[in-house]
Amino acid sequence: MPDASDIVFRARGLTKVYRNGALEVHALRGIDFQARKGEFIVILGPSGSGKSTFLNIVGGLDRASGGEVWFEEHQLTALGEGQLTQYRRDHVGFVFQFYNLVPSLTARENVQLVTEIARRPMRAEDALALVGLQDRANHFPAQLSGGEQQRVAIARAIAKNPEVLLCDEPTGALDSATGIKVLEALTQVNRAVGATTLVITHNAAIRDIADRVIRFADGRIVEETVNAVKKQPSEVAW
């Protein structure tokens, strides 16, 4: 049984309903979930099962319809718009499928964008070095490959030394070799920074690099596996 002070996230009875006129979509139907400090969790599940919805609520980008989510001592489900922004700013690093880099800023500047507003950031160069891109610091996103862009996005996400790192299909737009590099960057960062990391993926093979694997289906967590032994990203077969 994990020590209570070790728990970073707690979710209880989390639900999310989208209403489009008369039509109701139950994206989440009662999620109970916990994550420990430094844990690397992979989230699997079919399309439309509510993975992104869950991650967005946990990341403070979206609001739940019912239930509660706690981040350390903050109840996210009770926070206002401004407080959620502050929460994202101080504690959360995001990585998304489409990188979402600012095209008018170089790699270093994209990282600095975050370090400038963070409370205890690392140096932008160090963050880029963590993902192996120290040599490309002065390149604009348009001058980088997809995988490189994604690694810049990871560097940007971890540069603030976040407590949590949330990744929604970080390898979704990449080929396997590039995907492995990105995953390596993620695991390395997870180890170096000690950030609790949640990674959504469609690639079941990735499960082996996680501490724990959660499977979503139809708005519920239907399966939870703890890996006794973690594999290196380079060892998994795509």
Binding site: S52, T85, F94, F98, P103, S104, L105, A142
Partner: protein, 786 residues
């Protein structure tokens, strides 16, 4: 009816982008409205005047004499080029209305003969009986100001005699469309009226039996007015003629001309600015729309739409915007036109206004506007139409940014969001520049209209507080010997009396000549002074003449040059005098001499034309009453009344004008800023939403967009000031005439107010866009690729 799909898309785009469409349409509308208003008012004024002159036989040449026998008329009519001539009696009288404390004057004019010139347009009542000694017709403005009508009595002083005249009618005359009384700077219908009376009555009152005091001539078509005036002057010389005037120097006509000139200047300046800005806006907006729809365009072409059809689709979109703008512009132009016509009706006395709703003008405005819009559109459409479908369907290659301007970043100590702003602005230099220019134009329009307040203040300050410091002036009917000054000094309330002598003369220099009144003043005048360009009072020269800058310019002389002065009165001496200095002055042309020197030149002894007075403020009423009944008094002018009238009239007109300009400038500013921000938001919405995800607050994210906007608005200010200064100085030059000069001063507050107004308009646009930034959908941008 089946609407083709592309047409339906046009309509959907219009409704979807309604705010941007409206902003562009309003700028176009402003261009259309000013074009129609300016041209419409111009032709309306021009046509009205032409028709009025034609129908009421406005004369071509005007001449005053002291007293000439009627027999002279035959000789005048025989001058080559003269079609017909009419002898009149024109004399000043004083108002003696009980209860009216301040002095006022009337101009008596003998009724036009049957078939004569300057015929009256009778608005009320009937013409006087030719045999009657007391029946009169009064001018419309004067009648209104006093609430007079047929049957009422008008007490006046004619030639010093009190008379109680009976009004039989109210009329207008083409001679007094702009009814400026003698010694006045602005028409004041309460204190000046025209009274038409039968010739016999005036002959009797002014001892002019068998004689006349004024001539009006109609010229044969093609006659040379200068030649006729020369011949006429030779004939009238013996009878106290002071030089005939053509229409160009006739007060009412000249003021109308000045107004027409101003309208013409407005027509040439304003509409092109609006159309240019609108074309830039169309270009900006359409370029963005086309970029967003690039893939659709590729698809359309792939399935067989021709480039032409695609281009036509976008041009149709723009044409519809233009049509909205033209519609709004027509409505605004027509509405403002009525307003302007009403303003003219107050300012000018016309019996009617020919308000031309010339379909050609509307058609022309529409065509020019459509052309401007389409020009903006074609430039944007050209690039994408040329693309092969396959290339168009692929997403556009990402915008190439360069790490330029690192120094800006160091100098300004920019954060990354600041760098985003700078790079984005530099990435689209054409758009940045044209938006800056657009905002600058709105600043410029404001500078070009607001400066007139300061200019008038200066005109007032110099004219009324530094030069003409007297409280009142009495002008005698004919020059009086010097003791008249002492008589005036003894009138109740008079504290200081200072004589002046006024002599009509033609001053010439190397082929340039001007006829005006030379003012003789004491060597060191206290009340009525002339100022040098540094505003120091100038002593009157012992020998030589001081010319106003305007006159010096017209004659092309500098201090030290010699001018020929041909006096048009008395013995008519002709002398050569040195120009001893130049003076500032904004009303009319001016020449000044020492009164003794002027009297020596005239050789009539020590004479005065009138006195300038400083009054005891407690006794003005007593003074007015006494001065009026002094037999020699022909005219009393009161500075404070003149000044308040001057202020009121100008304040009213300028306030109307400036409000219109502020609205126009606001339209440009809002139009440009709003479109610019909408486009920037559409381009950067994704990045901004990403920033929100990263934990940037709404305020910080808006800051990125507003930083861009702010930079454009900021850069536009100095540019706008410079352009505005240029337009203003061109306007000052265009507005200046022999009647008045407009002092060109642009005070600092003009720039400040212009900038504040434009910044306020920019803030309004920013506020309108703020909601869109606050509601950026963070989750949406995470789901989609750009």
């Amino acid at each position: 009816m089946v609407i083709p799909p592309l047409r339906r898309k046009v309509l959907r785009d219009l409704t979807r982008l309604w705010a941007q469409v409206l902003a562009i349409a309003l700028v176009l509308a402003a261009g259309v409205a000013t074009l129609i208003l300016g041209n419409g008012a111009y032709s309306s004024l021009y046509e009205t005047r032409a028709r009025y002159y034609e129908e009421n036989r406005f004369a071509d040449v005007f001449a005053d004499v002291t007293r000439a026998p009627r027999a002279l008329l035959g000789e005048v009519a025989a001058i080559e080029g003269v079609l017909d001539a009419e002898a009149r009696i024109v004399k000043l009288g004083l108002l003696d209305i009980p209860g009216m404390v301040e002095p006022g004057s009337v101009l008596f004019v003998s009724l036009p003969e049957t078939g004569g010139f300057n015929r009256l347009y009778l608005r009320l009542g009937r013409l006087p009986d030719a045999m009657s000694a007391e029946e009169i017709v009064v001018s419309d403005g004067f009648a209104k100001a006093h609430g007079l009508g047929p049957g009422d009595r008008l007490p006046v002083l004619m030639n010093g005699q009190r008379r109680d005249l009976r009004i039989t009618g109210v009329a207008l005359s083409p001679e007094f469309i702009y009814a400026l009384g003698p010694g006045q700077m602005m028409p004041d219908p309460r204190r000046f009226g025209v009274v038409w009376a039968p010739r016999a009555a005036l002959e009797a009152a002014y001892d002019l039996e068998g004689a006349f005091s004024n001539l009006v001539l109609k010229l044969a078509p093609g006659a040379n007015p200068d030649r006729v005036i020369e011949a006429l002057d030779r004939l009238t010389e013996r009878y106290g003629g002071v030089g005939a005037k053509g229409r160009a120097d006739q007060i009412s006509h000249a003021f109308l001309d000045a107004e027409l000139k101003q309208l013409w200047a407005m027509v040439r300046v304003l509409p092109p600015i609006f159309l240019l800005v609108a074309a830039m806006l169309v270009n900006m907006t359409l370029s963005r729309l086309i970029t967003l729809e690039r893939e659709q365009i590729g698809l359309l072409k792939a399935i067989g739409y021709t480039s032409r059809a695609v281009a036509q689709h976008y041009v149709e979109f723009v044409l519809l915007i233009a049509v909205v703008g033209i519609g709004l512009g027509f409505a605004a132009g027509a509405w403002l036109g009525v307003g302007l016509a009403q303003m003219y009706a107050r300012f000018f006395s016309f019996p009617y206004l020919v308000f031309t709703r010339d379909p050609q003008l509307y058609g022309l405005a529409a065509v020019i506007t459509l052309a401007a819009a389409v020009a903006g559109a074609l430039y944007a459409v050209r690039s994408v139409v040329k693309l092969p479908p396959a290339v168009a369907m692929a997403p556009p290659s990402p915008a190439v940014y360069r790490e330029r301007g690192a120094w800006i970043r160091r100098v300004l100590n920019l954060r990354q969001t600041g760098v985003m702003v700078a790079r984005h602005l530099m990435r689209w230099p054409f758009r940045t520049l044209s938006s800056t220019l657009g905002v600058a134009m709105s600043v410029a329009i404001l500078v070009a209209s607001l400066w007139s307040f300061g200019s008038i203040d200066r005109m007032i300050d110099i004219t009324f507080f530094r030069s003409e410091r007297h409280d009142a002036q009495i002008v005698f009917g004919t020059p009086e010997p010097m003791p008249a000054v002492f008589a005036a000094r003894t009138l109740p309330g008079v504290m200081v009396a200072e004589p002046f002598r006024q002599v009509a003369a033609t001053i010439s220099h190397r082929g340039h000549e001007k006829t005006l009144a030379i003012m003789g003043r004491p060597a060191d005048p206290r009340l009525s002074r002339v100022l040098d360009p540094t505003l120091r009072p100038m002593p009157m020269p012992e020998a030589g003449v001081i010319l106003s800058e305007a006159l010096a310019e017209a004659l092309q002389v500098r201090p030290g040059d010699l001018v020929t002065v041909a006096v048009q009165e008395g013995r008519r001496p002709i002398v050569t005098l040195p120009v001893s200095g130049l003076s500032v002055g904004y009303v009319g042309l001016g020449a000044a001499m020492e009164i003794g020197a002027l009297n020596r030149l005239m050789g009539e002894g020590a004479m005065v034309s009138g006195v300038s007075l400083q009054l005891d403020p407690m006794q003005t009423a007593a003074f007015y009453a006494a001065a009026k009944t002094t037999p020699k008094t022909e005219l009393i002018s009161v500075t404070s009344l003149m000044l308040s009238r001057f202020r009121d009239t100008l304040a009213e007109n300028i306030t109307v004008m400036v409000s219109v300009y502020v609205i126009l400038a606001g339209i440009i500013a809002v139009g440009v800023v709003y479109n610019f921000s909408r486009i920037a938001l559409s381009e950067q919405g994704r990045e901004l939403a990403s920033l929100r995800v990263l934990g940037f607050t709404n305020r910080e994210v808006s800051g990125v967009l507003f930083g861009e906007l702010g930079t454009v608005v900021f850069l536009a200010q100095p540019l706008g000031w410079v352009i505005g200064y240029g337009i203003a100085s061109a306007m000052a030059a265009a507005f200046s005439s022999d009647l008045y000069r407009v002092p060109f001063v642009v005070q600092r507050d003009v720039y400040a107010i212009a900038s504040l107004v434009v910044c306020a308009a920019a803030l309004v646009s920013a506020w309108a866009i703020r909601g869109r930034i606050d509601n950026l959908d963070m989750i949406e941008v995470l789901k989609t690729r750009e």
